[in-house]
Amino acid sequence: MSFLFGGGRPQPSSAEKIAAAETEIEMVSDMFNRLVSSCTKKCLPPTYAEADLNKGESVCLDRCVSKFFDVNVKVSEKMQGEAGQRQGGAAGGGGGGMFGM
């Protein structure tokens, strides 16, 4: 998820670097928790007839991770694109509103 922290600031201090690494780890960890929540809901039926993952469930989980990453990339690209567009001048109709809170 490190792509979210666009670069360019000169020479961060120790405290800043540690804080940035901490934020990155929190972000990855939060994403993983959400992925677990979403993918177990989508792939593991809540009846729990057996303790083991069966073939179908295992394959579903693998694909779920793959698609979750795809969505993450798409959303990230879209938001960076819009941020760029806005900085460039032609502020699009949507977006941004929630960050100004």
Binding site: D30, C60, S66, V71, N72, E82, G95, M98
Partner: protein
């Protein structure tokens, strides 16, 4: 917040910056999870189907526009409530 002097406001602003970063992260993660949950329902393939991708793009757009609109109304209401003094503040 208006009871703070300049130095206190600076201190508060510093703390808020970190929180805003986190707030943005939470919003971003919510967006990813929401659009994933609503748009991706087929696990017979490993990659996003084009209809799923289209759905995700529209979901992001709609959700951002919705959040922006909600943010505007929220601030208006908040300001109106503070002014009217309907609910005694500080």
């Amino acid at each position: 917040m208006d009871g703070l002097n300049a130095s206190e406001q600076r201190e508060l602003a510093g703390r808020m910056e970190k929180k805003q970063m986190k707030e943005f992260m939470t919003m971003y993660s919510n967006l990813v999870q929401r659009c994933f949950d609503d748009c991706v329902t087929d696990f017979s393939s490993k990659s996003l189907l084009s209809r799923e991708e289209g759905c995700v793009m529209r979901c992001v757009d709609k959700f951002l526009k919705g959040s922006e609109r909600l943010g505007q109304r929220f601030q208006e209401q908040n300001a109106a409530m503070a002014q009217s003094g309907q609910l005694p503040g500080r």
